[in-house]
């Protein structure tokens, strides 16, 4: 028990046991919920992920974030979303042209960096995109983004979901 002395010489004792109890419970809870996933990532504030029972964990930070109002690629706003779709000026053949341009730039930069020393795993990774998308968006928007990505030679998508029961 910790104590302090007052000017008059009295000793006041402070009972630390309740605090220790709280600390112990808190530490137990935090240790139990401690994540050992390979990537620790905080979901964007503007995104509500759908729940899933998948066991596959996130292995890279998402490249494309589709919030309720914006499409963001590598932390750069590429297009705005109004009424669940992008504006008509950004559309081209059903895809989103600015998204295609940005992804193409990204793909070319990666190819330049890995030129000549690409393994099969690197090649597969080159054609894979991780996407974080709000659960309320419809397939029309998702399709536009996927089409733009397809034109930039990305054919595999890792779609982020919130794992249930975790």
């Amino acid at each position: 028990m910790a104590g302090v002395s007052t000017d008059s010489g009295d000793t006041l004792s402070l009972n630390l046991m309740p605090m220790l109890d709280i600390f112990s419970i808190l530490i137990t809870f935090l240790l139990m919920s401690y994540s050992t996933d390979p990537v620790s990532y905080d979901v964007n504030n503007g995104v509500e992920l759908p729940e899933s029972i998948t066991l596959s964990t996130l292995d890279e930070i998402p490249t494309i974030k589709v919030t309720k109002t914006d499409i963001i690629i590598n932390d750069k706003k590429i297009a705005g979303i109004v009424g669940g779709d992008v504006d008509e000026a950004s559309r081209s053949q059903g895809a989103i042209f600015p998204v295609f341009q940005e992804l193409q730039k990204m793909a070319e930069a990666t190819k330049r960096t890995l030129a000549g020393k690409m393994s099969e795993i690197d090649k597969a990774r080159l054609s894979t995109l991780t996407m974080e998308m709000d659960q309320g968006h419809n397939f029309k928007l998702m399709k536009r983004i996927m089409l733009a990505a397809q034109q930039a030679e990305y054919i595999t998508f890792k779609l982020m979901v919130a794992r249930q029961g975790e």
Partner: protein, 181 residues
């Protein structure tokens, strides 16, 4: 001299345990854990989209294989399984897009996979107005192997295929609606 019965007096002393270092360690541990805590565990659902390739056609193109198609609308999902060559043996089932009917769809897919271990691909066709929340629910139903489901490994499977079979019911899901207009 009279014998006096001697009684031993046990002296108790107040011993104070210094718990301050203990509290210090707890505080630091607490701070670290709170800072690094991730309260939402994020997972992924992997899908593919169709693409054009100049690669030579697959040798298996002549084989009789089962094509599984899932047509998703806002309120219903239709699963069609048919062979690409006669006899086609088409099987068709319709399900509602809700959590209550998804186990039935999963069971139908498990039966299909069990009867056709080689068929590891599903083509998902989705209407434009279906929301991502519902798509993810259907993807879960198609892809994720429940603990009670059998592990279906095709004959002559590689190590990778065995690993995928242990985790997924159908490892390959192609979002077949993603095509240029």
């Amino acid at each position: 001299m009279s014998k006096k019965k001697r009684t031993k007096k046990i002296k108790y002393r107040d011993i104070e345990l210094n718990i301050m270092p203990f509290i210090d360690v707890f505080s630091l541990l607490n701070t670290f854990l709170l800072m690094s805590a991730v309260f939402l565990s994020v997972g992924i659902l992997e899908v593919q989209i169709p693409f054009l390739t100049s690669a030579p056609p697959d040798k298996k193109a002549d084989e009789r294989v089962l094509d599984i198609k899932v047509d998703m609308e806002k309120t219903k999902v239709e699963v069609t399984a048919a062979y690409n060559k006669p006899p086609i043996n088409e099987q068709k089932r319709e399900f509602k897009v809700d959590k209550a009917d998804m186990p039935n769809m999963h069971k139908f897919l498990v039966d299909l996979r069990r009867a056709n271990p080689e068929a590891d691909k599903v083509q998902l066709f989705t209407e434009d107005d279906v929301i991502w929340k519902d798509i993810s629910m259907v993807l879960d139903t198609i892809k994720v192997r429940a603990p009670s489901d059998p592990v279906v490994v095709p004959a002559g499977a590689s190590e990778l295929q065995k690993k995928l079979a242990a985790e997924f019911l159908f490892p390959k899901v192609v979002m077949a609606s993603v095509i240029l207009r």
